[in-house]
């Protein structure tokens, strides 16, 4: 029950972060370019590069519970074979 709620928490956290990234990308495109960068295109390129680490973190966070359940499944399978 708690595990399900925790997973739901992660799903909603990811949805919120991805929404935030989307809002930031839209804001970047209408900003007309950041100070020190020439034009919207360079600013969008900067935004794309900067958002890569956070996307990797979200991806890893999602991957982690799957790995754990795989390990659990292997352990359960091992027990079943031994029985």
């Amino acid at each position: 029950m708690h595990e399900l709620a925790e997973k739901k928490g992660l799903v909603w956290a990811s949805i919120s972060i991805l929404s935030l990234i989307l809002v930031l990308l839209i804001m970047t495109s209408i900003s007309g370019g950041f100070a020190g960068l020439s034009g919207s295109l360079q600013s969008l390129a900067y935004a794309g590069v900067v958002m890569v680490p956070i996307l990797i973190v979200v991806f890893l966070a999602f991957k982690k519970p799957i790995d754990t359940s795989k390990k659990e499944q292997k352990v359960i399978a091992g027990i079943a074979v031994r029985d």
Partner: protein
Amino acid sequence: MILSPVYPLIVEVCFYGIFAGALYATMQRYGTRVSLVLLTGATLWSTSIENFIVLNGGYDYYGYATRNFPGYMAWVGVVPLWIILGWFSMTALSYILTDVLLPGRSPYLRSLLAASISLNIDLLLDPIAVSTGLWRWTHPSVYVLGVPLTNWVGWFAIVYFFVFAFDTMVIRKPMVGRPVLDIRRVEWQKALTPFLKRLLLLAPIVLLGTLAVMMLLAPYSNLPGPYRNVFPAPFGWWS
């Protein structure tokens, strides 16, 4: 570039939506009580620090203000409400990701990852905000993409110490230093007081540290003044 006066209102509403998502995510993962403790701590922490820096001439939120309308719908002192709730959202979301990726690890390491994730988001948010006038930096410093380096150092420190306090005083049992077995059964009154006490203890470190970095960078400022702020002397350091 100042855009239409509707722009800051749309941003404000978007951030209220993101806040709702972040709060719901926190409630799903940690339960209502701990989420309220986190929300209370984050609100008090960010409201105090933000208002303190604005009143001392660090930056302001009046890029879209007119005689009849301050630019945003809701304010907490001299800081828009969406900034306070946005700070909670970014910190809570960073903490959830950290909790998934580094379960049971040292609070120093967890705080480091959470602060890095928040800083990562701010590396994009701040240049956007500056270029569209959502807020205006008004102190001498080394500016990169229109943002003073002080901001990023301060941002990292503010999130780091907040997460450290939350992780050590609420998520882990203060006496044994281990994660609590059932976070949903935490008594919020018992968790909130030590959490706020620790925040109160850490606040001077954050403020004095950020001030020291400000002073250190000021002589190397690459943005010529004058630094016009709506809160000039006696509270402004350099106006």
